[in-house]
């Protein structure tokens, strides 16, 4: 080639680079499939390869040729112990319990003798695996379809041949997409709050413990709960998803647990924690070892749970490549998956923008002899409130009555029958209130907590108290001055009470806002035996179905498995737990719910940075929720609800109307649309909706610009 030609080629290349044109992926160097792997299936986007001896798989992007490995590569020189090497060299890792040893033991394809039989299936394969030394065998089916990879491990396929060894749990492809010391660029996705990202970068040993949390919150039947007056607990996982994105390779997946979520944990290990790898996975637990007290004050023995939890494992890896390989793209894929699974069958998806107004009826405080009512809002006052807001321009609202029953907010737990307190107006007052709300076009729901039980006001129900698997009654301190402890009811009793209560609510014409059971997942002890979390899950699902079949049902902070029954959800987390290893928080949940499920955020009242919170609502498309009382909340200072320190309607009226007006305008422009993209650049966030509307939000305290759109400090703009 002549010098001139070389110069021309160089200039052309530079020009193309400057113009942002990239060479086709095929032209880039693509890694070869390692030896030992056999192609098992292909879809329009990916090829699936299997290493039969270790069950390791590789997913190959057909567009770019980039690979996603399910095991760690080039591990010969790593100095991790044999267990870890076995863990990251095996496609599937099993755990078992030997007798009643206090820990579980790992069985993998590197350190344990194993027999594998592969049977090709349409779109994948079934692997029959047996560990002869342990005597446990099972079958795993892996299929590839247009959306991703599907894993099924039915419990019926598990065979335990030896009483000495019992199955404890599984990790299915825990190292899929793993990265070593930041060699790949990208991030892991964890379900903390709305969703959070952990960057793939060399942490140089900064972190000492992983993210390892139970799906749907702490299993209170087995684990001790931290009940501190000073600390705010970490956000429980309400969405059973996790993910990984390789930004340079433009490959990513979102792991979605379809079945087994009742007994799963989600683990995310940033590098430096145990090994040099970043990995994220679901951990399914069939059995566990726990400490059984032998006396009330001292002495324990190790026991394993009586039987395995009853569930099949069904997990999907929703795959994304190209421009879709981002957290936003995966959130959209998750939404599509939920559409296919009819997750929003009951959802009031076409609901026009409104906000939630939670009214506090009454609470109890100590008096000379016994306790007395503290009426915060009577039905008559509530009607005045709603009239005033309607006159001010509030066209739509979801009104939720809290503390409406005899005994009020904490004295009246559990919600046991339709018994509006005389102090707020009784049945006639409530009827009038329901009529008024209907006339104004507002939905009215009564808060119902069929889980919490006040042992002081309901001593007869203490016989139905929720017990830990050790058969100890579970209770927690309230830090309140009126009632010192609170207990839970057994799921069966909750269901029974709900069945008795809901028809009366329906007859009265009110909806229901379910609390408590919506956010609990636990094993428990009932009828002299261990009941696993799948039993609780089934009962709670039935309870919510019972409610939804009779009245409009809103679920408070609900675990995702209940979404298919809900008309709307509330108390949705806006932020995460501030783990030091999370690099940024992203509205994964909001993207997935947008355009499908009306979602109301946590209370505006207790936000210290109200402007920032408002902008988060604009960004996420979530609806605000206000807690209101007609009386000054200072009246609650000597009650168990002294944490309600800001709720006076007089002081909030104008704020409600202003927020409604401003947010309704944003929602008007995005009405009927869903979020299709979400990008962050410094303090500015760009949210793209399916109809083409773009919302820019500047969270910074200085003016900023994005795509030529100028934004003042702490402001937003909607561009159609």
């Amino acid at each position: 080639m002549s010098g001139r030609c070389k110069l021309t080629a160089l200039l052309l290349t530079l020009a193309l680079l400057l113009c942002g044109v990239t060479f086709p992926a095929a032209a880039q160097e693509t890694p070869a499939i390692p030896e030992g792997y056999e192609k098992m299936a292909e879809s329009s986007r990916f090829n699936l390869y299997l290493h039969a001896d270790t069950l390791a798989i590789i997913l190959e992007s057909r567009a770019s040729g980039k690979l996603l490995y399910s095991t760690a590569q080039n591990t010969a020189e790593l100095k991790d112990n044999a267990a870890w090497k076995g863990f990251y060299s095996s496609g599937v890792v099993m755990e078992y319990i030997e007798d009643v040893k206090s820990t579980t033991t790992q069985a993998d394809f590197l350190n344990n003798a194993h027999e594998v039989e592969i049977t090709p299936e349409e779109g994948g394969f079934t692997a029959a695996v047996r560990f002869p030394d342990i005597g446990i065998s099972w079958k795993l089916t892996v299929t590839l379809d247009e959306w991703g990879l599907n894993l099924t491990l039915p419990q019926s396929s598990v065979v335990e041949e030896n009483e000495k060894y019992t199955l404890a749990g599984f990790y299915l492809y825990p190292f899929l997409g793993s990265s070593y010391l930041g060699q790949d660029k990208g991030y892991m996705i964890i379900p903390d709050g709305q969703g959070a990202l952990v960057n793939l970068e060399n942490n140089e040993g900064r972190f000492t413990s992983p993210f390892d949390r139970p799906v749907y919150g702490t299993n209170i039947g087995v684990e001790d709960t931290v009940n501190s007056r000073w600390m705010v607990g970490t956000e429980p996982i309400i969405i059973p998803v996790f993910g990984m994105v390789h930004t340079e390779d433009q490959l990513g997946f979102l792991g979605v647990i379809e079945s087994g979520d009742c007994a799963a944990r989600i683990c995310c290990y940033p590098n430096g924690v145990r090994t040099g790898f970043d990995w994220v996975a679901a951990h399914y637990l069939y059995r566990r070892v726990y400490q059984q007290p032998t006396g009330p004050s001292s002495g324990t023995i190790s026991m394993r749970t009586e039987h395995a939890r009853s569930f099949d494992i069904r997990q999907h890896f929703l795959l994304a490549d190209g421009a879709d390989a981002t957290y936003a793209g995966l959130a959209v894929a998750w939404r599509d998956y939920m559409d296919r699974m009819n997750f929003f069958a009951n959802a009031d998806s076409g609901r026009a923008f409104d906000l939630e107004l939670d009214l506090v009826g009454l609470e109890r405080e100590n008096f000379v002899l016994g306790k007395t009512d503290v009426v915060m809002t009577s039905t008559r006052q509530a009607e005045e409130m709603l009239d005033s807001l309607h006159e001010g321009g509030l066209e739509r609202a979801s009104v939720v009555w809290r503390g409406w029953q005899e005994g009020g907010l904490t004295g009246g737990l559990p919600t046991d029958g339709y018994n509006p307190a005389g102090g707020i107006g009784g049945v006639s007052g409530m009827d009038s209130m329901i009529r008024k709300a209907g006339e104004l076009g507002y939905d009215l729901a009564l808060e119902a907590d069929f889980l919490s039980m006040n042992p002081e006001t309901h001593p007869a129900l203490t016989y139905s108290a929720f017990k830990k698997i050790t058969s100890e009654t579970w209770s927690r301190g309230t830090f309140g001055s009126v009632y010192s402890t609170m207990q839970y009811l057994t799921p069966d009793r909750s269901l029974e009470i709900a069945r008795n209560t809901l028809p009366a609510m329906a007859k009265a014409g009110a909806g229901v806002s379910l609390k408590g059971i919506t956010s609990l997942m636990s094993d428990y002890y009932y009828k002299s035996r261990y009941q696993d979390s799948s039993v609780l899950m089934g009962i709670y699902r039935e309870l919510v179905q019972t409610a939804a079949s009779q009245v409009r049902t809103t679920l408070q902070a609900p675990n995702a498995y209940l979404w298919p029954e809900a008309h709307a959800i509330s108390d949705v987390p806006v932020a995460g737990s501030s783990y030091t290893y999370t690099d940024r928080e992203v509205p994964l949940l909001a993207i997935a719910l947008s355009g499908r499920m009306p979602a109301y955020a946590e209370y505006v009242n207790f936000q210290a940075n109200t402007r920032h919170f408002f902008l988060q609502l604009v960004e996420q498309g979530t609806r605000p929720c206000f807690l209101l009382t007609m009386e000054d909340p200072i009246k609650l200072q000597n009650t168990n609800s002294s944490d309600i320190y800001s709720s006076s309607f007089e002081l909030y009226r104008d704020t409600i109307l202003t927020w409604y007006r401003d947010l309704a305008e944003v929602h008007r422009l995005t009405d009927g649309q869903s979020i299709v993209n979400h990008q962050m650049n410094g303090d500015v966030t760009k949210v793209t909706w399916s109809g083409g509307t773009v919302v820019y939000v500047n969270f910074g305290e200085t003016a900023a610009e994005m795509d030529g759109v100028a934004l003042d400090a702490l402001s937003y703009k909607v561009v159609e």
Partner: protein, 683 residues
């Protein structure tokens, strides 16, 4: 090459990541924030400071057990990086600036201070010296152990923390030196000026006894006898030195003037304070090792308490062991953690900015201007007592006494409430005095006329006769006899002992009435004179206190009297003691009314009433015991002393009995539990 790449790009990458981090959605705060409520109890409030980021790397540098941190006049953070034997200078954004000192010059730098000329003073604990570095990092002088005789032959010089005043005097806290802060002048070799602001040990009756009985060697081994040493210190613009020590009382934070006298008493604190800071606005911040941060006003009133211990969750805003604290003038807080090796940054929320704005206006006397921010603070938190008080002051000055009264009541501010109430009462009296006088005159005239008519016609005689009949009912007359104690105690006792003018049921009624009044006075006295926490009723405890104490006293007194030739029976003593409460029955209703209508200006009347009520009752008890037992006055006093001693012994015995019974119950329930778990559940 790789290292070079890192050196060039890592700071940039860190800066980019930092910017990204600031731009992310606001995360949940891992701790709750509290403020002082009406009854000096902590109540929850909005988040005051939110964690922004945790800085663990500064360029390529990391920290190893850092022990102290200051902000220099250049706005940089100077960190005593003890484990790495150096002072690390970094920007508030986390960028590395420079390193001062090394292993050759420093052995264990535990304290650092930066003067206006950017000279860096380092307390080198194991080096037993203070090393001064110039702005260029060169050592310009050292201070070693003072040789002055007043320093003490055995007093150690192991500097841990230090500050410098405007005159260049050094204030040095030293490990193991409980004489106080070592004050050294910059003159000459470093002249020892003396000890300054020594902590004192707590003196209570137990320590007083120990001091009287034990030898000096024994005393030296007792922690509560030895004053605590200063853990950390800082200095403000006016030269006031703030110290924290690890005592748990309200003297753990002190503000020392030039003479070394404490000028502040805080209303709330926590254990194990390890760091203190003060900013240009005079706000004082302290931190405890376990991660609790407290903000005080310049008067020492707790504004906020927040923070939490890191229980392994690794959340921003939780701490393992706080050793350093810096607060900038814009209230950004930097917290140094020696275990995590991090500097965490917290910034005030909108709510806190409002509180500070209102406080500044309020402290400057701009009450009217402070009304707006106080109102906004109250909108966000109705239980925020400072806002209620601040708003009350503003309203009071505007003459809105009714609203001011409510605000002061909500804020628990008794002085303000008293003033507002005085104004309202004065106004009410001014408007209604004539009406009241006319009503009194009319009432007197009506009574006079009725009496005159009754004298002529006797139309009220049937009613009088009926009253007499009621009065002559034996049970009522027995109760009524208690008032004879007020007129003539001797006759009253004679009637009890000889004439059967009283009975045990009557005594029970009197004690019952006393209990009712006790409850009313305790729980329904006016806000100004109430001594109980609002909303807290302990009726069972009150009943045990009143009836139990009465029974115990009477029983013990009777037992003592029987072996001391007393003539009184158990019945006589019971009735006598019960009837001695008669002054209370008369005066406490008056007290109850007065506490609801008087202000602090007339507090004297309440005090006099209390002295009269208690004094009169005590005198009647003495007289009753004397007359009923036919004792001399001196013997009666001796009997009372013996009775009190007997009560003490009885209480001790009851306590032992209680413990024994509890243990038996525990034992039985343990056996039951074992049986259940081992056999019923077949464990």
């Amino acid at each position: 090459m790789k290292q070079k790449w890192k050196r060039q790009w890592l700071p940039l990458l860190a800066a980019v990541l930092l910017v990204l981090q600031l731009g992310t959605a606001q995360a949940a705060v891992p701790y709750r924030t509290f403020t002082l409520g009406v009854d000096e109890d902590l109540v929850q409030t909005q988040t005051a400071y939110e964690p922004v980021r945790a800085m663990t790397r500064f360029g390529e540098e990391t920290l190893k057990t850092p022990a102290d941190m200051r902000m220099g006049p250049d706005g940089n953070l100077y960190i005593a990086d003890t484990g790495n034997k150096r002072i690390l200078v970094v920007t508030t954004a986390g960028d590395y600036v420079k390193t001062i000192g090394d292993k050759k010059t420093l052995k264990s730098p535990e304290g650092v201070f930066v003067d206006d000329s950017l000279n860096v003073y380092v307390a080198d604990n194991n080096g037993r010296q203070v090393v001064v570095f110039g702005p260029d990092g060169a050592v310009i002088r050292t201070y070693e152990r003072p040789t002055h005789p007043l320093f003490g032959e055995t007093s150690p010089f192991k500097p841990t923390k230090l500050v410098l005043d405007k005159r260049g005097n050094l204030y040095i806290a030293s490990t193991g030196n409980t004489n106080g802060i070592i004050q050294i002048s910059p003159n000459g070799e470093g002249e020892f000026l003396g000890y300054y602001g020594a902590n004192t040990s707590t003196v209570n009756w137990l320590t007083a006894i120990k001091k009287a009985v034990l030898s000096e060697e024994q005393l030296a081994t007792m922690a509560d006898i030895v004053p605590t040493s200063v853990k950390n210190l800082c200095i403000d613009e006016k030269g006031m030195v703030y110290t924290v020590s690890q005592s748990s009382d309200n003297r753990s934070l002190r503000r020392l003037n030039v003479a070394g006298k404490n000028t502040i008493t805080v209303d709330w604190t926590v254990d194990q304070l390890t760091a203190v800071a003060v900013n240009a606005s005079g706000s004082i911040f302290t931190a405890s090792a376990s991660g609790y941060i407290l903000e005080y006003t310049s008067e020492g009133n707790l504004l906020f308490e927040f923070g939490a211990f890191d229980n392994g969750d690794q959340r921003i805003g939780t701490f393992k062991s706080v050793t350093g604290l810096v607060v900038s003038d814009d209230y950004t807080i930097y917290i140094l953690d020696e275990v995590l090796g991090s500097v965490q940054v917290l910034r005030p929320t909108e709510f806190t900015d409002l509180v500070h704005e209102a406080f500044t206006l309020f402290q400057d006397g701009k009450y009217a201007e402070s009304k707006r921010p106080w109102t906004e603070v109250l909108r966000m938190n109705s239980l925020f007592t400072y806002a209620s008080t601040g708003l009350g002051e503003a309203l009071y000055r505007e003459g809105e006494f009714g609203e001011a009264l409510t605000s002061f009541r909500n804020g628990g501010n008794r002085a303000g409430y008293s003033d507002s109430f005085w104004e309202l009462r004065s106004d009410w009296l001014h408007r209604n005095l004539a009406t009241i006088l006319i009503a009194i005159v009319v009432l007197a005239v009506v009574i006079g006329v009725l009496k005159a008519i009754n004298r002529r016609t006797g139309f009220l005689n049937p009613a009088g006769a009926a009253l007499q009949r009621v009065g002559s009912v034996p049970q009522l007359s027995h109760v009524g006899w208690c008032f004879m104690m007020l007129r003539n105690p001797y006759d009253a006792c004679y009637g009890i002992k000889r004439e059967k003018r009283a009975s045990i049921p009557a005594a029970c009624v009197v004690v019952g009435l006393f209990f009712i009044l006790y409850v009313l006075v305790k729980y329904f006295s006016g806000f100004l004179f109430s001594t109980v926490q609002q909303g807290k009723f302990e009726l069972l405890r009150d009943a045990v206190m009143v009836f139990g104490a009465f029974l115990l006293l009477v029983t013990c007194c009777y037992l003592v009297c029987t072996i001391n030739d007393g003539e009184a029976s158990y019945k006589d003593i019971s009735i006598g003691c019960a009837f001695a409460l008669a002054p209370m029955l008369i005066l406490w209703p008056i007290r109850l009314v007065l506490t609801n209508v008087l202000t602090f200006n007339e507090e004297f009347f309440i005090s006099v009433l209390d002295v009269v009520a208690y004094g009169w009752t005590a005198v009647l008890i003495v007289l009753a015991l004397m007359y009923l037992n036919d004792y001399t006055f001196r013997k009666t006093l001796w009997i009372i002393v013996l009775t009190l001693f007997t009560v003490l012994i009885a209480v001790a015995l009851l306590f032992v009995l209680y413990v024994l019974i509890s243990q038996i119950i525990d034992f039985v329930s343990s056996i039951y539990g074992e049986v259940v778990y081992r056999f019923v559940r077949q464990v």
